[in-house]
Amino acid sequence: MAIRLNKDDERRKIKRMTGAQAFVQALIDTDVDTVFGYPGGAVLSIYDALYDAPIRHILVRHEQGAAHAADGYARATGRPGVCLATSGPGATNLVTGIATAYMDSIPMVAFTGNVAQGLLGTDAFQEADITGITLPVTKHNYLVRSAKDLPKVIREAFHIASTGRPGPVLVDLPKDISIAQVDYEYPETVDLPGYKPTYKGHIRQILEAAYAISAAEKPLLYVGGGAVASGAHELLAQLAEKTNIPVTTTLMGLGAFPGTHRLFLGMLGMHGTVAANWAVCECDLLIAVGARFDDRVTGKLDQFAPNAKVIHIDIDPAEIGKNVPVDIPIVGDVAAVLEVLLEKVSPKSANAWLTQVEQWKQEYPLAYDKPETGELMPQEAIETLYKKTAGKAVVAGDVWQHQMWIAQYYKFDNPRHHLSSGGLGTMGYGFPAAIGAAVAKPDAEVWAVCGDGSFQMNAQELSTAATYDIPVKIMIINNSYLGMVRQWQELFFRQRYSNSHLMPNPDFVKLAEAHGVPGVTVKNRAQLEEAVHTAQNTSGPYLIDVHVVPEANVFPMVPAGGALSDMVGIRGRLES
């Protein structure tokens, strides 16, 4: 049973309790409201303490779902998500979700049980060296050696996860820790001499950046997930407007700048827009804002922004100069740096460069053909969703073709509305992440737009959605293929479709119904619009299985290893 302390009055008072109770109390004192988890032998005491604690525990159906849900919770709110699993297989099942969060710098704290300390390292039943396993995919991790350390470790874990460049932190709790008796005291402060992230940018560097912006004729803002993480969207919009600099974002940066803004060129990179990629090729100043020059963004590195001076603003010094040489590095929190830069930079009016990129935008919009048969194109499904949700929904995607179509056709105007596994590219991410987002933001309209392949990787979470009546709307972009694999096989492997056809897929509606989630199959636009309407008017979860043209491809495209100037599948307005 948990001992309840009134947080504010009694925070400093020392109470005797078990380690498991201390664990729960420390979560309460850290303002944790939700835990996504799955019990097991090594965490039974913790689950006992959670039984009547004022913390909501969401029982997922697979620990990977717990990690992705915690991640979705974090992406939607900016607050660290929390997941909990037992030792051994429970812990290892979290790993993909932890790695997903790590690659995208998402704040998360993962708790795992472990065997009692006396058994550590003996291959005891359900033992896994989870701190060892997660070493390269966590920002930091802890193996708790004494119950009295729990409050301190938990406080530190949340601090580390959510400050600086955010990331997942894992805390491993041997079984004896949760049953030990402990004098509970929540630390007032965090003392980590080895951890001092730099927030304020160097003023001289910022002035140099301001000067470079004034001097540039063809500047371009290249914005990544760091702008979302630091809450810099408003400052970014002000900066772009004051200087009339066009903006492109990465997949992770979508929503950091309004998708419908006149200065927005769309996403750049492998499936970027013509305007965005050509602007990169032509610009004379590239201002990278919380972005990390990922290979999916840059294509062939030595031909990336070949004419540009580079300003790189990032909180992580190890990102500066990692992939491209930087002329003006600014280490600091994006928002903190932009605030100063915005003040120092002189206004610029629209110039020939802006006219040029706007012309590209007009001439080479994203385009696709609609078949005369009336079959649905996947792009059309996303456009329909965009319209029907007025562009306001939180949309979680899975991985690949449909993920790119979400990025291309759902114009996110706000940050923390697009949830997508960018760095790791984890199939099966979208649905549980949407559950996490919907739990975190009960008033938001949350959609999971899933691949038919990806959805099957975490379809078991239909039970979770049904159990808690979580209002997640699921749209499966059903092309009966591992579409990404099929597209690459079509283009680069002489149409040898090796193991990419998913037929027969399950009947997704029946699958949903078996879990207690209603749904409908749709095959044309009218049906889709009606189905979206029904979903929006259903209080709990709802699934729409959208049958789309199977062979649609994602274009334009920079073939792997190519330069951004080598795009294929470009369509001009005149041709379409």
Partner: protein, 171 residues
Amino acid sequence: MKHTISIQVYNHSGVLARVAGLFSRRGYNIESIAVGVTEDPDISRMTIVVEGDEHIVEQITKNVHKLIDVLKVSDISQEDTVDRELALIKVAADTSNRSDILQIVDIFRAHIVDVSEKSVVVEIVGDEQKLEAIIQLLRPYGIKELTRTGKISMVRGSKPQSIPSRRIASA
């Protein structure tokens, strides 16, 4: 180029694995690593010698600096340092050549720390060149076993080694 990296860490379990992991994930092989406590018993100093591209080593170093248990990192390759390493060398030796070996040991100011019928154990302290030189000279007699501590380094003069090198501090 060969880099000598000096790292101050908290003596927490796993810290060695964390540091080493940042090298191995880029396919870098640590040539030597020496670890021991400092004047503060909670803090250890690691001296890592690694061969590699300047740019990549710099990036690894920055990542090492980010580790929560790491207090300070400096690439001291370009600094004026005192470098020492200790080696124990078991050389095949009998009455016929023992005095020749002794002569070499004397010239290098090394010591014989163990003698048996068929071998001697030589202890030598010095920088890398000195160790390499004696090993070369002893090799013809037959080196039966060789073990080295790995290099430890200290920046000369009053400048404490714990100040991160400018390259890292300014990044």
